[in-house]
């Protein structure tokens, strides 16, 4: 199958008074048609900046995409001019943001926001757009769509606003949706409703989905493939089974050991990752995870370890990836 999205050696930097922050530092990955990929990592690892770079939504200044290629349906998005990239945004690639409170325009009715997008991108008539808007609201589970379309964002609860965002994202029949922490601001029962809805609709319409999240449970439930990021780089990638059952990078292992498990009985102490997340303006030479890594060796600070295959479709950026199997993990 052809790749829908191919990101190659993407580099995005921010120029701050503290120095140059290499927020995304050479990441390479691809997404197939209809596939659900999760990008996980902690605050500041570059997961959001990496996704925003795909749509060129990096504020400049202070940010800048300094290198790499982003090929979407074969076209390099980084070479498009402003008018051309605007045709891609919200049309072929849609976004769902974390904050349903701030990502809708508070002074426009929901109906206006939905129809405006369709009329702009698809060139539909007002009547056709109105009809589609009713259909879309029904599809995302909002009752009485005709009445609700006349309302404004403040009439909607957080979960309902996120449903509107999903309707908006789907309105122009995109091929890819990028959802940046789509449910982080929501309560757990609403989170489940929204994620189930996103999964059902993207599967039904064959839309590819990139979920950016820090929640390892959400990843396990919804993603087919997982990309783990640390300090602006991809440290491990594989299918969700590979990542959860046979992680081969110390950071992935550390993350999995850090989350309490609701399904296991109490009593076991958590094994946290020692130390603090790195300062991106002063990264150590070599592997950025080295100062916190329990398996670090002298070679780790010589050069940045490249991503290399450890199993079919699983890549790890660790010098000791070959040794780092189950027996070594359990001995820790």
């Amino acid at each position: 199958m052809p790749k829908l999205l191919e990101v190659e050696d993407l580099r995005t930097q921010f120029y701050t008074t503290e120095g140059v922050v290499k927020a995304v530092d050479g990441i390479t990955y691809s997404v197939d048609e209809g596939e659900t990929v999760a990008i996980v990592g902690e605050s500041g690892c570059g997961k959001s900046v990496g996704a925003m770079s795909v749509l060129r939504l990096i504020p400049n200044p202070p940010g800048q995409i300094v290198g790499g290629q982003i090929r979407f349906q074969g076209r390099d998005l980084l070479t498009l001019d402003d008018a051309e990239i605007r045709k891609v945004r919200g049309h072929k690639i849609a976004m769902v943001f974390q904050e349903p409170m701030t990502s809708l325009n508070p002074v426009l009715s929901i109906g206006t926001q939905l129809t405006e997008t369709m009329m702009h991108h698809l060139g539909t008539t007002q009547q056709e757009a109105d009809r589609r808007a009713v259909e879309l609201l029904g599809m995302v589970g909002i009752g009485e769509p005709e009445r609700r379309l006349k309302q404004y964002p403040h009439h909607f609860s957080g979960g309902m606003r996120q449903r509107v965002m999903i309707a908006l994202a789907l309105s122009c029949e995109p091929r890819l949706i990028i959802a940046d922490e789509p449910t982080t601001a929501l309560d757990v029962t609403i989170q489940a409703q929204i994620l189930e809805l996103m999964r059902d609709l993207t599967k039904r319409m064959g839309v590819a989905l990139i979920i950016i999240t820090h929640n390892l449970g959400v990843v396990a439930r919804y993603a087919e493939r997982v990309i783990v990021m640390y300090a602006g780089k991809i440290v491990e990638t594989g299918t969700s089974e590979q990542i959860y059952h046979n992680p081969r990078h110390p950071y992935t292992i550390g993350l999995l050991n850090s989350v309490p498990r609701m399904d296991l009985h109490r009593g076991k102490r958590l094994v946290p990752i020692e130390g603090q997340p790195p300062d991106l303006t002063r990264l150590p030479p070599g592997c950025a995870y080295r100062p916190r890594c329990r398996w670090a060796i002298a070679d780790c600070d010589r050069a940045v370890p490249p991503l290399a295959e450890v199993a079919d479709g699983q890549l790890s950026a660790c010098l000791r990836r070959a040794e780092l199997d189950a027996s070594m993990r359990d001995a820790s």
């Binding site: 989170q191 550390g254 050991n257 309490p260 399904d263 094994v271 946290p272 603090q276």
Partner: protein, 339 residues
């Protein structure tokens, strides 16, 4: 650490209860009008909550936004005066005390807040932040000794004592939360309310702080009320857990028992909504998605407040308010349909 003399001889009880909450209610008036404010209704944030916390145990209080868990904590802290009900701390009914009589007791009840960014004064150095409660309560009037105590508290919380000279903005979120914990410990409290104390932290840092809270509990014999919405964290840290919905406790049990055998339909839905970090388990797990959203606490439904969303609801649920009843030893449920 020196224990402050008790305000009154401790009543010996079989279970050694430290905190008792009896029929707690906190209603906030809702007003309308710009110049003449009229009360147009009541938000029943907490509506008849009762539970006890034993000395040395950690009780978890879980529920979604607006269920009243934080207001319950604020009432125990006496930051809010309850509309009705009693808070008994170490045998003393706090509702009967004046502000002046409360002051010595406030030392024993401390709080750790969620947001390590807004709960520390940005203009104070870390040393001053941690020393401030000792100054206010006149525990350690001598600045030299206070400084020494601050250094001690910092190292207990896993921070370098040199951090006393830093400002909060020079520290990461995890380090700031450790400062918040050191401040809570500065007055040798017996009881600490942790209100979403680890929710804002990244998972790797969250695990460090959870372990710290566990260590401190052991080292100083602390009792916690752990208020949180993250059920996995609550399960890990708490001996017993109370589940709240729209101002009421709907279920209360030992932690493992509650997570193994949730009896209330709301608890069942809540647990089923939490994804487990294991793709193989997730593939086979039954997911029961709760329909609808939490109703407004201004106009709570009649009878059982959960009945409009409940998959088990019958006609009688609309009328009678279910009592919290001990259905199994130590396992309390407020549902008439659970046998």
């Amino acid at each position: 650490m020196s224990a402050a003399p008790d305000i009154r001889a401790r009543a010996a009880t079989s279970e050694d209860v430290l905190v008792e909450v009896k029929g707690l209610k906190k209603h906030f008036p809702v007003t309308q009008g710009l110049f003449v404010q009229r009360v147009i209704g009541q938000v029943k944030a907490v509506d008849g909550v009762s539970f006890t916390i034993r000395r040395g145990e950690t009780l978890g209080l879980v529920g979604e936004s607006g269920c009243g868990k934080t207001t319950t904590g604020r009432c125990i802290l006496q930051l809010e005066r309850p509309t009705a009900g009693e808070i008994v701390f170490d045998g003393v009914n706090l509702e009967k005390l004046s502000e002046k009589e409360l002051s010595p007791l406030r030392r024993k009840i401390q709080v750790i807040f969620q947001d390590p960014y807004s709960s520390l004064n940005p203009r104070m150095k870390v040393g001053e932040i941690i020393g401030e409660p000792m100054k206010v309560h006149g525990v350690q009037p001598d600045p030299g000794k206070r400084q020494q105590r601050v250094a001690e508290l910092l190292s207990v919380c896993g921070l370098n004592p040199k951090f006393a000279d830093r400002y909060p903005h020079e520290m990461s979120g995890g380090q700031r939360q450790r400062v918040g914990i050191a401040r809570a410990l500065s007055l040798d409290p017996e009881f600490i309310i942790c209100d979403e104390a680890v929710s804002a932290l990244d998972v790797s840092i969250q695990a460090q702080v959870i372990n710290l809270l566990e260590d401190l509990r052991e080292q100083f014999g602390l009792t916690y009320l752990f208020i949180a919405h993250d059920l996995s964290v609550v399960h890990h840290l708490c001996n017993r857990v109370a589940v709240m919905y729209l101002g009421k406790v709907v279920e209360l049990a030992e932690s493992d028992e509650l997570f193994d055998n949730p009896l209330h339909p709301y608890t069942q839905a809540l647990l089923s909504a939490v994804p487990i970090p294991d793709p193989t388990i997730e593939k086979t797990r039954a997911h029961q998605t709760l329909q609808g959203e939490v109703p407004s606490p201004m106009k709570p439904p009649s009878g059982c407040v959960f009945h409009p969303r409940c998959p088990m609801a019958v006609e009688s649920c609309k009328a009678g308010i279910p009592e919290l009843i001990e259905k199994r030893p130590g396992h309390w449920v407020a549902c008439t349909e659970v046998s």
